[in-house]
Symmetry: D2
Subunit: 487 residues, 4 copies
């Protein structure tokens, strides 16, 4: 069933509140993950596996579209990949070329109508798009398109692209697509089906990851290399910023059609988003995360007995901190992985209950100890505060919180679901001492920007806007950005 709410200028948010229960709460959230497989008889099932491996990049909806005899077939729905697809779905997804998508919403409320791949017909035929990123001038283009008589059935920025292709005034799809892409600002790593071809493209800044590999005669394109691993595909390389891959007639061809510009890869992919076993510059993200922890230990040493992580994402950094500092690493917090969709909260107030459902402290590790607790970000500060409470109740004598990233002060416009600036504790409370007081720990240290950039590969240029406020020129939206601006 479909439930949507439409309004030209605004819409109340139908998404349930962010809570500790159903989301990696109080964490930045990746917008999406995408996968494509071309030239394989089981294309849809392989895309499914790839989406499964990318599930951490989006848990609200999943979808797959395939190409078969020039027609596009699609199946999508709300929920986890393993819940949306069943055998019957795959019967309706024939073809050797397939694309897939998992999402959190960045633009568009998280409703089923906005699930991707987005599919539409225009005079050139059918077209399907799966998009990771955020087009920052989508509202402007949409207004312009509406002035020219276009109608919109979703509130995703991706629908804008299909309109631009349809109105491009040329019957050559590739030309029309390129003309449309030239209009877009912001971040897009995309895979697109049309007639007998698949196109993968990364925006000229290269904000979001996109890599490709080979599986026998087939090709696989995915947001992260872990999606290739699950299929046993061979990793070839990351797409360059502005690079476009075109698969047609069994051949994959790479071009770089955009004028060169300064790259701006999202540095947060190293810190938090990407899976630790995914590759960046042919090294696993894991290694860089350990490096961030080690750097953090150099910058913010602590006189402590034990190093623990806020599981799971901060474990590599905590191990790195432990190795560098010589303080032993231990599991001080256990994380539950059974949090389900329908978890019923107790009526009575149990202190720190939300956090307690997800984490439980290990008293024997903590009792009477001076504890370094490593996390990879502080967003609103409320979860950190609950964790500090929980550690103290379990007997921790001192709590030294160490964050393997600089303070997060600015919203991201390029594909990450972040709260408004007013809710970012580092933007409002300001200095580290004030944050420390709010969180309630004994000391607090953030990794420096210099430290961060020392660890991550130098072969690349980064977008660090969330820390620095420096947005790559021309890419940030004009005026205040609201992810539901298109509704």
């Amino acid at each position: 069933m479909i439930g949507r709410e439409f309004s030209p200028h605004d819409a109340s948010n139908l998404r349930p509140d962010d809570t500790l229960l159903n989301s990696p709460c109080d964490k930045p959230r990746e917008a999406c993950g995408i996968v494509a497989v071309c030239g394989h008889p089981e294309a849809a099932k392989l895309v499914y596996l790839g989406l499964y491996a990318l599930q951490h990049r989006g848990q609200e909806s999943a979808g797959i579209a395939t190409l078969h005899d020039g027609k596009i077939h699609v199946h999508k729905g709300s929920g986890l990949v393993a819940d949306v697809f069943d055998d019957a779905a795959f019967k309706r997804l024939p073809g050797h070329v397939a694309i897939g998508h998992v999402r959190y919403s960045t633009t568009g409320s998280s409703l089923e109508a906005n699930a991707q791949p987005l599919v539409a017909n225009y005079r050139g035929g059918g077209m399907a798009v799966a998009h990771n990123g955020n087009i920052t001038n989508a509202a402007l283009i949409r207004e312009e398109l509406e002035q020219r008589g276009a109608i919109f059935q979703s509130s995703t920025d991706t629908e804008v692209l299909i309109h631009l292709v349809a109105q491009a005034g040329t019957s050559d799809f590739n030309e029309a697509l390129f003309m449309a892409l030239l209009r877009l600002r912001g971040a897009y790593s995309m895979v697109i089906l049309h007639r007998d071809q698949l196109v993968a493209v990364k925006d000229p800044r290269g904000f979001r990851p996109l890599c490709f590999g080979r599986l026998g005669d087939a090709y696989v394109i995915a947001s992260e290399s872990c999606a290739l691993d699950i299929m046993n595909a061979e990793y070839l390389r990351e797409l360059a910023p502005g690079e476009m891959l075109t698969y047609t007639g069994g051949q994959l061809q790479a071009t770089r059609p955009f004028p060169p510009t300064e790259p701006a890869f999202c540095v947060f992919e190293y810190i938090y988003f990407s899976r630790p076993d995914s590759l960046a510059q042919s090294h696993a993200i894991y290694e860089y995360r350990e490096g961030l922890g080690a750097q953090l230990a150099l910058e913010h040493p602590a006189d402590a007995d034990v190093v623990i992580a806020v599981p799971d994402s901060s474990i590599p950094a905590a191990i790195g901190y432990a190795h560098e500092s010589g303080i032993p690493y231990a599991m001080g917090l256990i994380r539950s992985h059974y949090v389900g969709r329908t978890f019923i909260e107790p009526d009575q107030a149990i202190r720190d209950f939300g956090a307690r459902i997800k984490y439980n402290p290990v008293r024997s590790v903590l009792e009477g100890k001076r504890v370094v607790v490593v996390d990879d970000s502080i967003v609103r500060g409320t979860t950190s505060r609950k964790i500090v409470n929980m550690l103290r109740s379990a007997g921790a004598r001192e709590i030294h919180m160490r964050i393997s990233a600089p303070p997060w002060r600015n919203p991201c416009y390029f594909g990450i679901d972040t709260p408004k600036r007013e809710r970012l504790i580092a933007a409002t409370v300001g200095d580290v001492e004030n944050i420390r007081q709010f969180v309630g720990c004994d000391s607090l240290g953030f990794l420096s920007l210099e430290g961060l950039l020392r660890v991550v590969p130098r072969t690349q240029q980064y977008c660090t806007a969330c820390f620095t406020g420096y947005y790559p020129p021309g890419q940030a939206p004009v005026g205040e950005f609201d992810k539901k601006i298109l509704e």
Copy 2:
């Protein structure tokens, strides 16, 4: 979840085969039913009741859209009305103005993406449309719109209308809507939400029914009066062909903006589609159906012992036949009403099994008797044949089949789901004797066209194209019509 299949020129049909199990098979099928309620605090729930009463007009999907504070809210899904809506759905459907829709597909495969009301945004704001009928030039207009760069996300003819409104080149919605409607050919009874108003409109020929009534200060508009009865609303009258009702600011206003033309009300609504308790010209359809049966008795008398109906739709005609002929009426076939969605067929061949699931003969009524069996149509002939078999096995000595309509020889383009001409037995097998032989009864009589027109109200002009092949000029599609032409 949404599963769609897209293709510019064609698409394989995803609908399960027509079977006796899940549909009033081997019967013409009504396209849709629509309801609107304006000016009532429980508008969505009343529309729900209305859709429930109109369930016979479409069982594949149901949907409701409401207007609240200038925004459109919508909930729709596959299945019966009582299955698609629950309490949670109504919480998301606030507002005093609501429209609703139940459907079989006429254009567009019967997939969830094509469920109505269709909702979209354009520069004038949000718009929701529920449509009963069939726009016969939709493919041509769509091609033209695609040439101008439009994209299509459904395969319904209704999407065309929204595009036409969006491209009308005027910011006055009512003007834009009227300009758009002028472009349409074929059949449409529609209800439309936009900003703060509701519009109901019937095409100038008036193919499909649409009536309205009053419930306290509120107004109700519906395909049939039975939808008003269930709400206890007072019936006012049928809309005239080409009439438009506009509800805004608590007032309902009627206009007749179209140039006058010859009306062509679907005569099959009298024969089969409408519920017998619905009104036509302020008389219940029931009465006319009895009249058809009586006329049939005059035209095709039979020397018989008992008159039976193929239940449920043919019962009034059978009663009429019995009264006129003086032959007693009895229930010779019992119909089961528990046929569910997931009925499992036995693997082994049981003769006439499909019919047996739905009907069971009453031996004591039939044994040794000369039986008149009244039905309201023969489409492919296969079900009639099974019924004749079944009656013979139950001991009927003679079987005289009487059909309360003329032979159906031509496809309907105006909102009824009919097979292609090649599958209409009256179009292929041709004369009545040949049909009789196929069906296997002892005699067979169809109501004459003259007889039909003698019974139905003379105050109106009818479309009889399915019997005569005479399509109202300019309304039939150019070239071969295929209900999936838009996919």
Copy 3:
């Protein structure tokens, strides 16, 4: 999922209120229907078909048990037959011998734990029982069994039988079963699986129907012959009171082990319960129902313009009344068959809404007319009153209600779900004039007991306790009976 509530002496009733929406409310309700097939490779699927045909005898749960290699397999659940079974279920139901059950609760709340066939292991092996009827001394036997240390996991009377077999003190199953049956009072038509055999048995009074037939080499046993028809099986005959059929080694053997006693077949099966196409004494029930209507016309003629039925069950009697009286029969009430499980009621009070969801009057049949409305029973009187209201609103000038049964004054203890005496209007309000005033019709006539017995076959003796209060000696429960007495 299973939800149960247990308590030794009492339990709140978890069943939703009787409403017009989900049940043939304000009607007596049959307890159950049973089917068995033996000697057929698709035994489970045939039983499924049979249950489907018996769906009118119970809509709360359905179940099938099969015998395969000496083991019993079972699948059961809440809901309609077509909803409980799917392909996967049949894969788990192998074997050539199968029994099945549909139920309303008579004893035992209508919960999934009480769904039948009831299956248990005892020292003799596995045993499965499907039971239609009501054992009136079950509570006494249960108490005795509990005193001897038995435990009970359901609140059905059927569990008592399995305990009696298990404790019979003989290893011969047939002997044990017979000894157990001798302990039982009340009504039971049962089919039982054990090791390599199937037993069907009807209690010595023969309260509830049970017939059998042949399908090729296989045998079919069922509550009504309509279950044989749907399989295309040949009807052989009704089991005699106290008759037992035993199927083993491919042979079906009939015995009459009980001492002879006076039969007491439920006369209400003729009036209301059985499907009109089922056979009684090799004539269809339909014929007797027409006869009841004709007799009613003789006893309670009316000066009227039209005869209508409360559909569907009263249609044959109304036709009989019409034929006898010469007053034309017409459809004055249309019944909706789409009432679903989750129907949402409107918040606002709409007068007679509940009835309106199920029935709609046909104004043109009723307006200005003197109407005879035939129904087959008045239980609490509330529905009759709503119907009378509805007919008056539709313009009926006079309303003459005719009931094709005597007034129902006494609870049934033998397998029919009846309200307590306090809720039977004929038991409380008493005389017919008072009932007429409550119901609001212009005249009211009940069929006389003599009239009833004149119509039904004289070859049989009947239980008429619901009308007369004369319960077959020794069969009624001692003390006040409560259908949840076993919880």
Copy 4:
């Protein structure tokens, strides 16, 4: 819906194959977890939280029973705790006393009919039991009970207990319960509801854990202390072997009714089953697991570059190994936590696919390295072999597998779901060198029994039968034990 298969002596196993996808396969599996809350107005919801925390002890079904006004209410079903319960379920679970259960099957196929708490009525009233453990003489007692005429509706060993209570020949429940318990051999930690009281009892050997604590005026009893933590309850202590707690009239009373015997606490709770944050002798299990890893490093050092764990259960032992050996710990395998119920496997053979869905190696940690991989058990050896393959493909130069337990050679009869001896690689292949060859690693070391017993608390005596074959006298079943022996 309920689907069961019954047979006196045998039954085919309906459980899906153990696969990597849906279970911590190739691992021993805990039978069950139990929780009780007494004296709290939200007893059912607190039990729900407790079951949630114990989800690792059983994921096949979940259930809660409450006591309210002397009646027992129950809700149970297949699946995870968060899937089985919703708001409606809690409305049907009133009362201040509640017990709950999560299960894997040990005896009884994993079918819904066997879900616990098991509820039955006997002459003393209603009784509900939730049981962790395995009664080794259940089949014998059952045979004896069946000889005396008892019937069985489940295939759980727990049903035996209820029968024994029912047949105890005394009306004093506590006396009857104690007499019944005296008949049982094997392992049981149980919570029981009856009339107005709750009883918790641990068998005299104390095989399985059971602890209790306080939450305000209420008491909480649970398999592990992590269930107390999630409710914020205060841990009091572990029950002694043979200890019984009785809650009635707001008071909790402890007794030790059994004659003293030699305790035999399951040592595998330390190695694998219990959550690392649960307490044993008031120290977290985590600490002992680190200790096992450290001991393993002493016994089986390796000349290696990195220590990795098979996540998640072996992480503490790997950290302990790393600390003791000085070799750095790293995350060499990433585990996915999104494995869902309906995961669709690809049709084509992908090498080691099953393992790949669950684990992905981190190439940069492994490439060119000599790797110590720590796991906590080898059952069949197949998963270890896949992991070794995976590590080699990711570039590991040497693989030294270290197991933080002795070789597992004997089946457990006391509540753990283990394969038959023939499938235990350590029982069949025999010596460590042969296992090493099968697994394919470069070296393999198991912790010694002495080492194990050196690490775990000396204050207790252990059951080590799985390693030693020494079963506590009189507790192992006579003859070959089969967990489906009762079907």
